[in-house]
Symmetry: C2
Subunit: 169 residues, 2 copies
């Protein structure tokens, strides 16, 4: 079973950069690599231990934070995926009885999606394991480094958002 490409890490996307590659580019590649490494781990473990997928987990985690439910387009925006994607995932989870769709009384176009009791129970268990994995992965950084990284990423996020807004016209 080929589960994790590049797990060895001896050579990866960043290797072989030529001397004239610029700093910003290398920073971006490293950011991408870190995310994909962690994401790959989480994805594999969710599949092995809970027979679920990352997008399903992500969607449920959004709902868990919003017990009053979220509209489809709110889910789409928060998860940063397209609407069609959300439709498909909600379809699955609803068929399994983990979430439910309710009509929005104020807007007949809209649906409000929320966790069912079973969904809440299921998610609680996954969330505990998930947090353990993440904590373990990031445990090598000191509290100070955590804070600094968090701060720097806030800046990156802010500039990325500004960049998008600019292009959106």
């Amino acid at each position: 079973m080929l589960r994790q490409a590049a797990a060895s890490g001896r050579e990866d996307r960043e290797s072989g950069s030529r001397a004239d590659d610029h700093r910003a580019l290398r920073l971006w590649l490293r950011l991408l690599t870190c995310t994909q490494l962690i994401e790959g781990q989480v994805r594999g473990r969710l599949r092995e231990r809970f027979a679920t997928t990352l997008p399903r987990f992500d969607l449920m985690s959004q709902l868990e934070r919003h017990p009053q439910g979220l509209k489809m387009n709110e889910l789409s925006r928060r998860m940063m995926v397209t609407g069609g994607n959300v439709t498909g995932i909600v379809d699955q989870l609803a068929a399994e009885g983990l979430v439910e769709r309710q009509a929005d009384p104020a807007d007949r176009r809209a649906l409000r999606v929320r966790l069912t009791r079973a969904g809440e129970r299921e998610f609680a268990e996954m969330a505990r394991a998930h947090e353990e994995w993440i904590v373990a992965t990031l445990a090598g950084l000191s509290r100070r480094e955590h804070a600094e990284l968090f701060r720097l990423l806030a800046k990156v996020k802010q500039h990325a958002l500004a960049n998008i807004a600019k292009g959106a016209t």
Copy 2:
């Protein structure tokens, strides 16, 4: 056209975290958000201006760094995707004359993939634009912050790799 979910950025994956969410988790969510924001931008622009996709660009960029060519499994490892995926993308690019497969004289199972002249020309143009986008996105950080972020991500990467190695047994 629904091109960029969450482009507004007023509310995203990180919003609504409950007070007892832990630091590591929030750090991971922010890392993920940053990556997806930038990745979404790059993806959209590659499509609009060059009618290509991120995986195609990624594959070509690996080859550009290795003029002597790379074997299929080296591409797979560096791009962190499965081998079957690489086969498909190379098939496409080869059909368009941007890359070519050459038999490896030392190993008759292996193939060496490299950019064609046309591929080099095509990639050079895309790479220039791509670097501009990335530089612009990360321009808000000082040289010092760049270096610090790079260093911290190196630590994250290292721990993530160690974590994977541990689970691989």
